[in-house]
């Protein structure tokens, strides 16, 4: 088996660097075995070939000092590292590096919860801390705080936040709730952002911006530094919580539902990001596709309607929640019922009638910050399911939602895939998640999925929609769509990259940001 090597690096150089790294972290924390160990740093949902993302090695440091030493070594040899926190970013690449041969810098052993402040509602965590870890800590200590987790919840708080991930409680905009971070730059300099830059600071977890330029965002979805610590705000446990679901019978209801949601969202009548979930996403919690349709191509409407009837689901299934004292929740729910009750066929569901339904149960948990993995069950919709997510942003506007939905559905069907998706209404925008699910054991289907995704990127861009996050394979293509003023933004990214990481050792190619020595070949 040939060891994958980074571009321009010889096996001798790699082995020499590895030998030095082993002296820093110990041999037990350097992973070289191609057959088993390094397979766990591949992307099982890739739509091309495993080998395209195969690392040469992985290393798990335990602290900042070890990271500094590792970076000094790889700087000397000019070997790229690819940083992961818990490495669970599946559908976007998981633990795999952008190109073959990188050394994965796996921060899983930096998993301390450094502080949880109940009074002010924040936590300071290292990159290896998962949502489960923080939740369990809070439960053990009996603190009256909620986390806001991704679905599924095994991801890292630092990793998900720095990927611009989102959740399902009122604290669901994770980057908005981030407060302060510590970063190791390529040259080993350790930087604190925000208020922790002042000695003996007591406000690092309280105020985001500090003095001077607020640079935290520079270290998200980028490769300008290695985040080694992050502050995150936590919601105080509210006095009450009322989740609800509304099912809608018609495809075109998406437009009205979205238009009605926006004022409820911006005026904080609905406190979290409501989700408009399509029938197949909901159904896949309970049934597999083959129970309703065994033919090729997308599931026909008649079969979808039968499934909806059997499972008491709508073509669209809308989830939201209100939080707070009883009278306030009652008031808000009255407004919500009056608003959506005007849509013909709209049916309201609550815990008394819906409890026990898998889709309801897991959403109710997510909307109160209880971590779970149930959403992973979606992948049993088809045998051997894998997926990549196409995630364009739109205005929280009915016509935009319908336009995006119809465009994606049409293309998905043309390429032989079901549309499986949901819309999350944020502060002003909508995150549209199209789960492009394919049989990961079929090379033909993987290729078809890959081709579809590439078409969607260009079509969405032509309509004025950019993605909020993406898979390794499409980072360059999507970077190319953020091209206003002759690519001014990515040129700025590259100027920063050249200054902060002149040897190009930190995650080259992440989000289409390449160091100078690799830029022409990307």
């Amino acid at each position: 088996m040939t060891k994958p090597l980074p571009q321009g690096i010889t096996l001798g150089q790699l082995n020499a660097a590895i030998a030095e790294i082993e002296k820093v972290v110990g041999k037990d924390y350097v992973y070289l075995d191609e057959i088993k160990e390094l397979r766990s740093y591949r992307d099982p949902y890739n739509t091309t070939n495993d080998a395209d993302f195969a690392p040469s090695a992985a290393v798990a440091p335990q602290n900042v000092e070890q990271i500094q030493k590792i970076l000094a070594i790889v700087n000397n040899y000019k070997i790229p590292v690819w940083t992961i926190s818990t490495g669970k970013n599946f559908a976007y690449g998981g633990p795999a590096p952008r190109k073959p041969g990188y050394i994965v810098l796996d921060l899983k052993l930096m998993n301390r919860i450094l502080e949880v402040n109940e009074k002010h509602g924040y936590a300071i965590v290292e990159p290896g801390v998962s949502y489960y870890d923080l939740y369990n800590y809070i439960q053990e200590k009996g603190l009256k705080l909620w986390i806001d987790c991704a679905a599924p919840a095994w991801g890292g708080i630092v990793g998900n936040t720095s990927e611009h991930g989102a959740g399902y409680t009122p604290y669901g905009d994770h980057l908005l709730m981030q407060c302060g971070m510590q970063v190791v730059l390529a040259d080993g300099t350790v930087v604190e952002t925000g208020m922790d830059t002042t000695p003996n600071s007591k406000t690092g977890g309280l105020y985001k911006y500090g003095q001077g330029a607020a640079i935290d965002g520079l270290f998200t979805q980028s490769n300008f530094g290695v985040i080694t610590r992050m502050g995150i705000w936590l919601m105080p446990e509210p006095p009450g919580y009322t989740p609800f679901m509304i099912t809608f019978e018609n495809e075109h209801d998406l437009e009205t539902v979205t238009d009605l949601s926006l004022p409820l969202r911006v005026n904080q009548v609905i406190h979290n990001a409501p989700m408009t979930v399509d029938l197949l996403w909901e159904s896949a919690m309970s049934v597999s596709r083959s129970q309703y349709y065994t033919g090729k191509g997308p599931m026909p409407d008649s079969h979808r309607k039968k499934m909806a009837k059997d499972l008491d689901l709508g073509i669209w299934n809308y989830y939201g929640a209100v939080y707070g004292p009883g009278p306030m929740m009652k008031n808000n729910m009255d407004v919500i019922r009056d608003t959506f009750g005007s849509i013909p066929g709209a049916k309201f569901h609550y815990d008394d009638t819906r409890k026990g339904d898998p889709g309801w149960d897991y959403r109710v948990k997510l909307m109160k910050g209880t971590p779970n993995m149930t959403e992973f069950s979606l992948l049993n919709w088809i045998g051997g399911g894998g997926h990549i997510n196409f995630s364009p942003i739109s205005a929280a506007d009915g016509k935009s939602a319908m336009r995006q939905y119809k465009m994606i559905e049409k293309r998905a069907h043309e390429y032989g895939f079901d549309y499986i998706g949901e819309f999350l209404i944020g502060w002003r925008d909508q995150h549209h998640i199209f789960m492009l699910m394919f049989n990961r054991m079929s090379p033909e289907e993987k290729k078809r999925a890959h081709d579809l995704f590439a078409v969607l990127v260009d079509e969405a861009a032509a309509l004025g929609y950019g993605e909020y996050r993406t898979h390794l394979s499409f980072m360059d293509q999507i970077a190319g769509t953020f091209s206003w003023n002759d690519n001014a933004l990515w040129d700025t990214h590259h100027a920063l990259k050249d200054e902060l990481d002149p040897n190009g050792i930190l995650s080259p190619g992440k989000q289409g940001i390449w160091p100078k020595n690799l830029r022409g070949n990307s």
Binding site: M1, I35, P152, W154, T374, F376, S377, N380
Partner: protein
């Protein structure tokens, strides 16, 4: 301490009259593996998986819809039994998730197979070491409808070791069962404890 739902030193099922004729080497391995601590998972909703777990001679470790509920069990087992083995016949997504959790403790996939029902056809696709893939595949084929029982009886001799995988496939025709299962059988253990 692990919960009552955990198998440790699980006794072999009484039905050692194998449905597929074992090789002598396989029988020897079966006997010598009795002391390996074993944690077994099954899917609560699948008939085949229930059939599998009912042939394992201890209480069940069943998965409902949230595989996350079993993460602590896996972590505890890996720490307490580094020489142990984790096996199961589960949904694909549950195997995927448990595989990810176990790797942090040096437990890697030593064997996996998919079992797909489509109309009257049952397809087994086995990924395993070169010297075991063919044997396992033909044994599953010979077991016909009782393949879950064969798996239960032979969990302990599923391969362990740091070998490259090969894939073998077999299909059998059964009476139309109206089953839609897509299940994965699998085994995780440490490369360092063989």
């Amino acid at each position: 301490m692990l919960s009552r739902r955990t198998f440790i030193k699980s006794a072999l099922a009484t039905n050692v009259a194998l449905l597929a004729t074992p090789s002598q080497a396989l029988q020897h391995a079966l006997t010598s593996s009795e002391e390996v601590p074993l944690l077994v998972f099954a899917d609560e909703h699948s008939l085949n998986s229930k059939d599998f777990i009912s042939n394992v001679a201890d209480r069940q470790s069943n998965i409902d819809l949230d595989i996350g509920e079993h993460f602590e069990l896996v972590r505890a087992f890996c720490k307490e039994s580094p020489m142990g083995q984790i096996s199961g016949l589960t949904r694909d997504s549950d195997f995927f998730a448990l595989e990810q959790i176990a790797k942090d403790f040096g437990f890697y996939t030593q064997y996996s197979a998919t079992h797909l029902y489509s109309g009257s056809t049952l397809t087994h696709e086995v990924s395993s070491s070169k010297d075991s893939a063919e044997l396992i595949t033909s044994s599953l084929k010979n077991a016909k409808e009782q393949w879950p029982q064969w798996l239960a009886n032979h969990m302990r001799v599923l391969p362990r070791g740091n070998s490259q995988f090969v894939t073998k496939k077999t299909q059998i025709t059964l009476a139309n069962t109206d089953q839609h299962d897509f299940l994965v059988s699998w085994s995780l253990s440490s490369n360092k404890h063989i």
